[in-house]
């Protein structure tokens, strides 16, 4: 139920809506719950609404951490 997927904003539309794409599949979603969205941003999409922006720097940092957690083994 709480499942959500990361999608990329491809176009900002009026009335707090946006077009997003996921590997070429496009969909119009509501962005009423997030602020300051730009084309190119990634958001967490849940039941037609963007719930949160994905922080690209934190995402990179997590990946680096995941890699280092294993290397030490």
């Amino acid at each position: 139920m709480c499942l959500a997927i990361p999608v990329q904003v491809s176009e900002i539309l009026p009335d707090d809506m946006a077009k997003v794409s996921l590997d070429g599949v496009t969909k119009t979603i509501s962005t009423a719950l997030v602020e300051d969205l730009k084309v190119g941003d990634y958001v967490v999409l849940h039941v037609g609404y963007a719930l949160a922006k994905i922080d690209p720097e934190e995402a990179e940092r997590t990946l680096a951490l995941l890699a280092s957690a294993g290397v030490a083994a």
């Binding site: 139920m1 499942l3 994905i54 995402a59």
Partner: protein, 385 residues
């Protein structure tokens, strides 16, 4: 898919698992509850438990809104859908959940009720606008993740003066459920369920942030690590919990830093607070009455409450007496402890809600876990023969 594939790298997962094996003290037990069905699904699907040492065990929690919905509430929705002129809009997850006496929304639809599966509350609003002569009722269900979209739908309906739109509200709250588990006799006194720490929900936490978990970490001295839903996220969270236990810490840590912040999505919280207020008590399947564990519409929005509009009353409804969903949701039993599991109860013919939802512990175990058991059990059988 960006932000998905890279968090499913099997090579990295093995590396993290090796670190967990090295760091977990063989003299200790590490029993962690993953609250969320999304984590249960990831653990089963990617076989994470096979990578963990024997003394690091995962207990499946009640974080699947479909699973914790009491039958009486489902029956209310079915009754509502059967009223003349009503169109019941629902997320697909609920269609096959068994009610009492073999009923379900799917069967009610087959019998002629106007029940429509929707993807988003935006769809429900659209249907209400397009069909002004129908009473459109949205079967609202879900945790903090799914509540803001319902709140926005109510706000939109109010703004558009949609007199034919209402909701049957079953929104529930995560922190109240965690508290209920920690205070349950099984965990507190009997010691039959051991919980040393929690993996906190991913998307619920994008909305509520880390703040609400601080109370449990301090009051019950249990570490909480909020984690994403991908297998590497879960593996890393387990490692973080192992380290906290080893170091005698009980803190709230954030593994899902790419989407979760300390205070969460305050805009979404404000929308929810505008429309909803706490229910003093609400029944959860498995947990019983949970104080302040659910939401209802505020007086200003009660015109949108389907329970009032259609005078719906929850009638006592019995679960299948042999179904162990309740005990499974509390972590007291495992799916294979249920005699219905895999016999009469399968995802095709579910007897209980934990087998219906893909995030339910029974469904996850049926789809992925039972094969693991077969391969593990095979050598034993040979040795007996």
């Amino acid at each position: 898919m960006k932000y998905v594939d890279e968090y499913r790298d099997g090579r990295l997962a093995k590396g993290i698992a090796a670190t967990i094996v090295r760091e977990a003290d063989p003299q200790r037990l590490y029993h962690f509850m993953e609250f969320c069905g999304g984590h249960t699904h990831a653990i089963s699907r990617y076989g994470l438990e096979d990578l963990l040492p024997e003394n690091v065990r995962m207990i499946h929690g009640p974080g699947c809104p479909v699973c914790v919905l009491p039958i009486a509430r489902l029956e209310m929705a079915i009754e509502c859908a059967q009223r003349p002129n009503v169109t019941l809009c629902t997320y697909g997850d609920l269609m096959r959940v068994p009610g009492s006496h073999g009923s379900s929304l799917l069967k009610a639809k087959a019998a002629g009720a106007d029940i429509r599966m929707i993807y988003s509350t935006l769809d429900a609003i659209r249907i209400a606008e397009r069909e002004p002569n129908r009473e459109v009722v949205f079967f609202a269900i879900g945790f903090e993740t799914t509540t803001p979209p319902t709140a926005l739908a109510i706000r939109a309906a109010a703004k558009k003066k949609l007199a034919n739109f209402s909701i049957l509200c079953n929104h529930v709250l995560t922190p109240a459920a965690i508290q209920s588990i920690l205070q349950s006799p099984e965990v507190r006194e009997l010691g039959s369920v051991r919980i040393d720490g929690f993996i906190g929900p991913a998307h619920v936490s994008t909305v509520i942030g880390l703040q609400p978990y601080r109370f449990f970490a301090e009051e019950f001295q249990k570490p909480v690590v909020v984690a994403g839903f991908e297998p590497l996220d879960v593996a890393q969270a387990i490692l973080m919990l192992v380290r906290q236990i080893n170091e005698g810490r009980h803190e709230v840590e954030n593994q899902y830093v790419r989407a979760v912040t300390e205070f969460g999505n305050e805009k979404a919280q404000a929308e929810v607070a505008e429309v909803f207020e706490l229910r003093e008590s609400f029944e959860w399947r498995g947990l019983g009455q949970v104080p302040y564990g659910a939401l209802r519409l505020r007086p200003a929005y009660q015109g949108f409450d389907a329970e009032k509009r259609f005078a719906l009353v929850a009638k006592p409804a019995e679960d299948n007496p042999a179904c162990e969903c309740g005990a499974i949701l509390r972590g007291v039993k495992k799916p294979r402890d249920c005699k219905l599991f895999g016999t009469v109860c399968t995802p095709d013919t579910p007897m209980g809600s934990c087998m219906v939802s893909p995030e339910g512990a029974c469904s996850a175990h049926w789809t992925y876990g039972r094969f693991r058991e077969t391969t593990k059990a095979a050598p034993q059988r040979r040795s007996v023969a």
